[in-house]
Amino acid sequence: MTAHVLSDTGTLTGRSLRHILRSPDTIITTAVTPVALMLLFVYVLGGAINTGSDESYINYMLPGILLITIASGIAYTAYRLFLDMRGGIFERFQSMPIPRPSVLWAHVLTSLVANLASIVIVTGVALIMGFRTGASVADWLAVAGILILFTLALTWIAVIAGLSAKTVDGASAFSYPLIFLPFISSAFVPTDSMPGPVAWFAENQPVTSIVNTLRALFAQQPVGNDIWIALAWCAGILVAAYAAATAIYRKKIS
């Protein structure tokens, strides 16, 4: 049975990727909000924001926008998982000789592909709006690696939500605070412009270290300690969410 883990995960991933191809609006709506925020911040608010650097404002805020893209994209992962469970197809899979982890991993891999597609769209719009970087291939690979790790970490949180939700709305509501988190970070304004307790929160929450790392990579500046803090946050969230999700899953299917 374990010999089929890879092929069954592949088959099931093909199935849910087909769902996305049949309703590409899920990728487009994921990209619409970040693009709208980008337009708002660059063309409306950005002129009044002093970032304290020579960088153009779009260069400054793109990392935060990419994280918002991922945070809103994973809501669809929870939604798709919830619909599978409610519709009965989940039980069909459970009563078939399919390795149990394959069902979840198919959703996780689909989430990864869908979010990367949204990120490519948002980055494309940012380039049109004047985003420029001298980042090398290695820098881009580092950016991609961090974004993939962040997507995986948030996707496993989405799996928890999808498995334990009672309603469709509940399955996606968990993502709202995650979407909001970049606003209280260094993503749009420097943290030292915030009042004491807010600045303290902003400086010590995961988004700031990730945003600072991405920004440094794009600007070809040294990443310093931020990259290690960012990786530790992503890995920590990933491990904790994975453990919680698989525990809930095991309880659900036994």
Partner: protein, 270 residues
């Protein structure tokens, strides 16, 4: 697979299942002979679905043992899953995929050769060939149920569980499901079906067990059970097919349903 004919295909012994203070199953015992149709009759909340979920390894019993096709459901769930298929109360089809893609998906997950050929064969067998390339979301209730059952039968599992297979179906669709079930049993498949309809059990089952408040209160052939029923009940059962015959006579013969489905399919896609 038919070598075990002398052994019961399903053996249930003293199964109990409780949720906190709610005792859903209070010690259930029965055997189902290989190649037979066994109907579990009971009203809503009698514990039918819970029992089917235990036998199909979706749920663990608190106490008791059950074997399906010679494998213990709690110690060899993987082997049980290879031997069974489950058709639940709600049609477990992927609505975004076409009927054909649904069947190919199941064939691939069962690691069968030629998934496409199997899908075509199943579509033909269940009069869904014309609708095969449409999304399952556009299917009527009867077509969806046929696809659901077709998906369950991919790979010819020796034991089939049907949990209220005709609930919510119109009379024609019901008759179609009944014909499928009879054909399956003729081909040697063991079938355990649950139902709350007396006539369904009467039409199909070799043996009928009545599940009430978590235990089997009667288990026998139709003839044996009929002797227990008061005469008033018999009158009710006799009336039911008459109305159905009138209905079917008014709307046309059941053999037309496939064409009707194809016709409505054409209209919908326009």
């Amino acid at each position: 697979m038919t070598t075990k004919t002398r052994e019961p295909a399903i053996r249930v012994r003293a199964i109990t299942k409780s949720y906190k203070d709610l005792h859903v199953l209070r010690g259930v015992d029965f055997d189902v002979a290989a190649g037979s149709i066994f109907a579990l009759l009971g009203s809503n909340g009698a514990g039918k679905t819970t029992l089917v979920r235990i036998l199909s390894t979706l749920l663990k019993a608190n106490t008791g043992t059950a074997t399906v096709h010679g494998f213990d459901v709690s110690s060899a769930p993987g082997d049980v899953r290879k031997s069974i298929s489950l058709t639940g109360q709600f049609a477990a089809v992927d609505e975004v995929l076409t009927g054909r893609e649904n069947l190919v998906l199941v064939a691939k997950l069962r690691h069968l050769k030629n998934p496409d050929a199997i899908a075509d064969d199943m579509l033909a067998r269940f009069s869904l060939t014309d609708a095969g390339n449409r999304r399952a979301a556009t299917y009527s209730g009867g077509m969806r149920r046929r696809l659901d059952i077709a998906m369950s039968l991919v790979g010819n599992p020796p034991v089939v569980f049907l949990d209220e297979p005709t609930t919510g179906l119109d009379p024609q669709a019901r008759t179609e499901v009944w014909q499928t079930v009879k054909q399956l049993a003729k081909d040697g498949t063991t079938i355990l079906l649950t139902t709350q309809y007396l006539d369904e059990a009467e039409q199909l089952a070799d043996r009928i067990a009545v599940l009430h408040k978590g235990t089997i209160i009667q288990n026998g052939t139709l003839a044996e059970l009929k002797q227990l029923l008061p005469s008033a009940k018999v009158e009710y059962v006799e009336k039911q097919p008459t109305l159905e015959e009138v209905f079917l006579a008014l709307v046309g013969d059941t053999s037309d349903t496939a064409d009707e489905a194809a016709m409505s399919a054409g209209e919908e896609s326009r």
